[in-house]
């Protein structure tokens, strides 16, 4: 966070506070298979976000009456470490993390061939060790790599990225300060191969045209993320998944 409140978030020459162009992502780092106990795992850095995802499953689901005879039940838990944010977060789920967990599950499920794994559970856990803006997108990005690392059959990877509106400009991948001081935030997740959108939220103030523009920009970000996801899996498995 800048020491003093900056007057404007986009400079006269069109650059952002951290020197990025409006359509530029923050640095990304993705690693697959970072944990031994989990069936699949991944680590993602986007800006100062530090996120670990793990997948367990397909595994037995208890109690039995929650099993689905024709598909796997996907469960998702987004959790922030107490030290991941400025003010210590009390452990345990709050309303925000419960909503994010629900939407992240719904963002990933379209990509999973759940019908291949009837009566089982696929459990996805995302731990935010350090939060910059965009943790829900980074979590979905990490979870998707972890699913692939666990060998779960998928239609495509799911890549996620936000766009935002800052000083009237539509920008890609807002960082913490832009998120807090901008006019709107548009997190989006998609399956890049078919262009299908699996997560979309927006809050703030936008015209319909700005919103559509933000969606297109976020999709562009997702494609960059997607390349990094595939690179991470290739690094681990020797060739494209």
């Amino acid at each position: 966070m800048p020491e003093e409140e900056p007057e404007r978030l986009i400079s006269e020459d069109g650059l952002r506070l951290d020197g990025r162009k409006p359509d530029e992502m923050r640095p990304i780092k993705i690693r697959a298979g970072v944990l031994k106990r989990a069936d699949g795992s991944a680590y993602v850095e986007v800006g100062a976000n530090r996120i670990v995802a793990a997948v367990y499953g397909p595994r037995e689901l208890h109690p039995r009456h929650k099993q689905k005879p024709d598909r796997a039940v996907v469960r998702f838990r987004y959790n922030m470490a107490p030290f991941s944010v400025d003010e210590r977060k009390r452990p345990g789920p709050d309303r925000r993390s419960i909503e994010i967990s629900k939407l992240s599950k719904e963002a990933l499920e379209p990509a999973i061939f759940t019908e291949y794994y009837p009566r089982t559970a696929i459990d996805i856990f995302v731990e935010v060790l350090q939060a910059d803006a965009g943790t829900r997108c980074a979590g979905i990005t990490a979870a998707s790599v972890a699913l692939a690392d666990a060998g779960i059959e998928m239609r495509d990877l799911v890549a996620a990225c936000a766009a935002g509106k800052v000083d009237g400009h539509i920008v890609l991948d807002p960082m913490y300060y832009e998120d807090g001081h901008g006019e709107a935030d548009v997190p989006l997740a998609m399956m890049p191969k078919e262009g299908e959108i699996t997560l979309l939220q927006m809050d703030g103030d936008m015209t319909p045209e700005e919103l559509k523009k933000a969606i297109r920009l976020a999709k562009k970000g997702c494609k960059i993320i997607y390349k990094e996801q595939r690179r991470a899996l290739k690094r681990k498995y020797g060739e494209e998944e």
């Binding site: 309303r95 925000r96 967990s101 939407l103 379209p110």
Partner: protein, 269 residues
């Protein structure tokens, strides 16, 4: 007595899809048609504002209560807003007692964003004494009968209740707030956000899905639109995906329908 629920669900799904294939909705509406909306305000005299809405067979009450509280440290000159939804088990056989589940939480957060991001309430007008005392605006959504599209019904009733909310006179005497409930002024309200929820069923976008449609929908998109036709909140839900062009359609459709609905509802205030 315990019927085969799964069988019933499959039959219902069949019926909805069958109708769609024939270009119709299961309850005979047009694809872009809302169900009849009936709104009654000031139904709860213990609340500072209230509204009862029927959206087709969906029925819910919203009560607004103002309580004296302390401003958040980072907004010392503003009041606070808290939206809560209770999916009480009276309203649907699948609702269970207990703290709000993920569905109730998503509902309340989407309504919250509609109210908050439209800036329909001037939170500064709810400050009583900077840094010390403010009004906390509790918007409580109490669902009575669930026949689908709780999102739009809840926001409509909440906005209507806020439009009818009256703020008691509050004075600070000796560092304590004295409230006079008999002298009230209307809450300052500056917008009338309306959300439009669309269900994606079999590649069709259905406005204002009823419960039978919600059960079979692939995805749900809720777009909240201000009086000026700007977007203040969007939420895609449920475990399906949708292509960008349908999203574009959904946005345009929502902007159009929002204005229409707003007119219908305002006429009943």
């Amino acid at each position: 007595m315990p019927l085969d629920q799964d069988l019933l669900a499959r039959l219902k799904r069949h019926e909805v899809l069958e109708a769609l294939r024939a270009g119709e909705r299961v309850d005979g509406r047009d694809f872009e048609e809302f169900r009849p909306i009936e709104l009654r305000t000031d139904v709860i005299s213990k609340a500072n504002g209230s509204a009862l809405i029927h959206l087709g067979n969906t029925q819910l009450v919203v009560g607004v209560k103002l309580e004296v509280g302390t401003p958040y440290p980072d907004t010392p000159d503003e009041g606070a807003l808290a939206v809560n939804a209770e999916l009480v088990p009276l309203a649907d056989p699948t609702f269970e007692p207990g703290p709000p589940d993920e569905n109730a939480i998503e509902l309340s957060r989407v309504v919250d964003r509609g109210i908050r991001e439209s800036e329909m309430i001037d939170l500064k007008s709810l400050c009583i004494q900077e840094g010390e005392h403010c009004w906390v605006t509790f918007v409580d959504i109490h669902v009575l009968d669930h026949d689908g599209n709780l999102f739009d019904a809840s926001l409509l009733a909440s906005v209507a209740a806020l439009h009818r909310t009256r703020v008691p006179r509050a004075e600070v005497v000796d560092d304590e707030v004295e409230v006079d409930e008999t002298e009230t002024t209307p809450l300052e309200v500056r917008d009338f956000p309306v959300s439009v929820t669309l269900a994606l069923v079999d590649e069709h976008l259905l406005v204002d899905p009823c419960l039978d449609e919600e059960v079979v929908m692939d995805a749900r998109v809720t777009v909240t639109v201000t009086e000026e036709g700007r977007i203040c909140a969007v939420q895609k839900g449920e475990r399906g995906s949708l292509p960008e062009h349908l999203l574009d359609d959904a946005i345009d459709l929502a902007v159009k329908k929002a204005e229409e609905i707003r007119r219908v509802v305002k006429a009943q205030l």
